[in-house]
Symmetry: C3
Subunit: 264 residues, 3 copies
Amino acid sequence: MKKTLITVLALLLGVSLFAQSAQERPRFPRFKVLAFYNPHVEEAHVQFAEEAVKYFKGLTIGDGFVFDVTTNMADMNDEKLKDYRMIMMLNDVPHAPEQRAAFQRYMENGGGWFGFHVSAYNDRHTDWPWFLDFLGGGVFYRNNWPSMPAKLVVDKSDHRVAKGLPSTFIAPENEWYQWKPSPRENKNIDVIVSLSPDNYPLGLKDIIPDGDLPVVWTNRNYRMVYVNMGHDSRAFTNSTQNYMFINCFRWIMECDPEGNPFLR
Amino acid sequence: MKKTLITVLALLLGVSLFAQSAQERPRFPRFKVLAFYNPHVEEAHVQFAEEAVKYFKGLTIGDGFVFDVTTNMADMNDEKLKDYRMIMMLNDVPHAPEQRAAFQRYMENGGGWFGFHVSAYNDRHTDWPWFLDFLGGGVFYRNNWPSMPAKLVVDKSDHRVAKGLPSTFIAPENEWYQWKPSPRENKNIDVIVSLSPDNYPLGLKDIIPDGDLPVVWTNRNYRMVYVNMGHDSRAFTNSTQNYMFINCFRWIMECDPEGNPFLR
Amino acid sequence: MKKTLITVLALLLGVSLFAQSAQERPRFPRFKVLAFYNPHVEEAHVQFAEEAVKYFKGLTIGDGFVFDVTTNMADMNDEKLKDYRMIMMLNDVPHAPEQRAAFQRYMENGGGWFGFHVSAYNDRHTDWPWFLDFLGGGVFYRNNWPSMPAKLVVDKSDHRVAKGLPSTFIAPENEWYQWKPSPRENKNIDVIVSLSPDNYPLGLKDIIPDGDLPVVWTNRNYRMVYVNMGHDSRAFTNSTQNYMFINCFRWIMECDPEGNPFLR
């Protein structure tokens, strides 16, 4: 009966039956993450965002971290951001000058950023030099079409984000973006995973014939990871890719200048 | 017309169109499996059980083995069990003394057991020494939280259960259980697959920082395999993991003291 | 505003936002593919066909190649076929003599064929010597049952179809067909991927105990690829297998005697 009561209580609270049973386990300090997405962009980018929200929300089950979601880019302001230790950009970039300024202040003050796919899109119309530098200097150059799986290669196997990953793996369907110049040429950038040349020529309509194509990278001057994935509803159907996403997420939090929340 | 008629008949019978065409193929003797699950436990454990039932039921299509399912633990009695060559425990353990005694008699008389996740859960309240010995002596120690994919390592590549598996692979989302002492320390236990240390520290809320974490093992004194998986509805979404589950299932049946049903 | 307008237009046109932005990218010439399937055959073969249609249709999003689907085998005639650079046979073979003759003419005049699973089925009743030669001479011999995942081995890693594939991988659930004699014994056949002997004995009801089992092959005298997959609704749930399917598809088109459409 006592066991049953505990079980019922645990279920009501939405926590694991065993979550409290090991006193020696490090306690989890809640932290807050804010995910931005735009529900009015290209359909496959919205599908991705919805899958991402579902996936990361799932990681909070049982009194985990706080995962808030907004579709209002005006939330990119100092007052709103101050409570969040990480922002995720699922399918958009800040457009208005005040949003851009708030984002820049957030990052320069140690904020965390986990950006996907089109969240790094910039071209000659973007007119935001700080952002270009933040990303490593790459302007959008070209993409494959349609969305296709691709073989990825781990370039920097000693990076925390690559920990546990196989040296190569085939990732689910995605529209892969190539940048010019490659962020790899920037001395502040660590390219952790990139597209294998084995994929070339990649595409059935729009073809990427060759060239460097970083997929996961970080700018060592900021607490940030960019991943190329973000097109298509299949992004969270592959165990290896999910593992990599969580590595990215966890590492961004581990580097929090306010302290690694997983050690407290 | 004759072909059409045969096709229709084959479809009506639910068998493969070609199932009967090769006379030299070994005949399949039907055997019976009984799966237990509790629909009133932690939600993710129920989701797993429902996916497992769907998956194993799917393996019986076309006049295959008999796969019965019960949510009544009172079915753990001599009379009910005598027809089954394997029982599967999807998310629970026998609680009542007479159920425990029937289970023990079943296993000691050559019965087969395929246990998942919480079916090996035991702590200081469990008070069932035989069961603890059956499992290899490990008491539940701690788990990661939330459910996360993990890199697994094949420890015993020459074991039938590991046949065909890659030396490492990343398994789908799961709540991974660690046991103390590790079943590996028990001389009767063969640990076939375990969690890679590359995963540590594992968790975003409850953290497993280190230590041995067997994932698939067998006690050589019984016809049994335990697998750590069993949390989350994604358990059957990975081809490699599905392959491993079938290896476990098939091996338990191959070892039946009444004869390997796949050879008859 | 201008950006918003462009976005809206791009969405209305169903094309990628960036699809037109790189003028130096090779332009995509549309080509036409016709997929045949029979909605009245074994249920798992229909499920596969429906998944295949969904998957390949998805590759045409945004003004890509033309992918037409028919469930009428009478469409296998010169007039209908003349517009198509590839036909896909998802779960059937031409039965009527005039359909068979039209198919033979199509292939002998440089047509493309991408065949799945039962599309190569033939036995002593088939009475179509040209087709048997086209396939490499193998008559249906036996299959595993039920549908199960299997470990595959790349035999010919320098073939375009194998480009980027790992040397082995575990493919999703399928009913695997074995042929006698093995197509590998035919000097015109390139076996690109085959079933690993590690899978044997394969099956829980119908057992394939041993022997060569080519999974992906081509007859060098024709523009064709056969793949063993085609049973079960899970065929398109594995990134590596999807990658391989696209490799097959692309290579068949690359070899078009009317010109590689991806280079124009």
